[in-house]
Amino acid sequence: MLILAIESSCDETSAAVVRDGDEVLSNVIASQIEFHRKYGGIVPEVASRKHIEVINPIIKEALDKASIGFKDLDAVAVTYGPGLVGSLLVGVCAAKAIAYSLNIPLIGVNHLEGHIYANFLAQITNPKYQIPNNSQITNPNIQTLEFPFISLIVSGGHTMIVEVKDFGKYKTLGQTRDDAAGEAFDKVARFLKLGFPGGPVIDKMAKEGNPKAVEFKRPMMEPEFGYDFSFSGIKTAVVNYVMRKMGGTDLPAGRQGTLVSGETHLSDLVASFQQAVVDTLVEKTIKAVTDNNIKTVCLAGGVSANSQLRAQIKARGEEEGLTVIIPPLEYTTDNAAMIGCAGYHRLKAGHPSDLSIKPIAGLKL
């Protein structure tokens, strides 16, 4: 079964062709990061306009790379939430048009579900599909991912621990009570004038710093908070630290970077911040896994590209005798291949969507 998948929930426009749920024939991603960099974040209006500009060429490229045409498709899967409504709308409209004109099923997919399914994606088997310097991405995990497992979904908009009991069967064990982890990365990076997107910048800079230089409290580790997270406080702690170092209470615009780097090592501060976030994510996730007597844990979402998080959850998980699954970097950020995978299983379970499907910004898992 050939599924065309479309993903446009935030700032990436992506289309993919996926065969039988896990064989990725093509996965084309157009990132808008360059357009948003100057704003220091994603601007919804810019995002939806860019999606409109590229959606058709991206779909065509995905079909071409998979060496198929529209008539070969068996179904269309599309992300319909959560995300920015204007962005989602572009993908949903395109998917509807294709499904309607070809008279094939339309499958609405939850973006978060897609991230979880990124872990099921096998290798890219089409030799025509080449990624620079990495012609074949293999995912060694495909053999070992077994239900039930716990997934830590962590991105710019979400931070949650989900128990996945079976295809389509989820139980949210914990989530952020304020900011998402990726949002904390972005905001701290912006506050320190490090640039956008904050995740990769901080990841890189933290490698040069001492993660123990500044002691930030790991938030909500007390038992009464269960598996919930809070990252607003860590962000505030970084702000507090910088203000205290300056001996003032007001932060003059444009001076943050120089002041911090002049008096303390900026890389130490950044490394300490990252360590606090990663410690919290890893410890809560491992606790959720062991408390529920589950043997497998997997990462999902954009922040799972963070090298410290990847290394630490693997080390801690293995210490506990768990199987730790980390998706290939290619599938950590938003992409349509994961939507195709999730869509396949939805369709197989007999849950295609109606053509009247609408984007839902706050769609729950």
Binding site: V43, Q175, D179, K187, T236, V238
Partner: protein, 138 residues
């Protein structure tokens, strides 16, 4: 009014008091730097409106809507930098609805804020202490 709080808990309680004084069609603008305590204050306001759902940061999606005693529209302009972006989002439409609108990073709206706006300015005093200055009584 000028009120100082000495902890996040006190800030939430202040939010609760403010929340109890709010009525439908009120527009509340929050001013304060990153880490000032806007999220904490809003959580207190939401509690006063009997909102049971978790009130999380709207930065990513820009606008979150909650149902409580009255609808609460929680808007965050952090990502936006120019007025045309804000205009295109249709934020002004929320001001006429029968709910309470809370705007974080309201300084970015400038003169697009309605005249009857209730302002809360948050000043950073030290790690725990914050000063709240409002242009309304509650």
């Amino acid at each position: 009014m000028v009120i100082e709080t000495a902890s996040a808990g006190e800030t939430q309680d202040l939010g609760y008091r403010i929340g109890k004084s709010l009525k439908p069609k009120d527009v509340v603008a929050l001013f304060g730097t990153l880490g000032a305590g806007k999220t904490t204050l809003v959580q207190g306001i939401a509690r006063a409106l009997d909102i049971v759902e978790l009130v999380t940061s709207p930065t990513f999606v820009l606008i979150n809507e909650y149902q409580g005693l009255y609808p609460l529209y929680h808007i965050d302009l952090y990502r936006l930098d120019d007025l045309s972006q804000i205009d295109e989002l249709g934020i002004a439409e929320y001001f006429t609805r029968d709910g309470i609108t809370l705007i974080e990073w309201a300084e970015k709206m400038g003169r697009m804020l309605p005249r009857h706006v209730k302002e809360i300015k948050i000043e950073y005093l030290d790690d725990h202490k914050r000063k709240f200055i409002t242009n309304f009584d509650f």
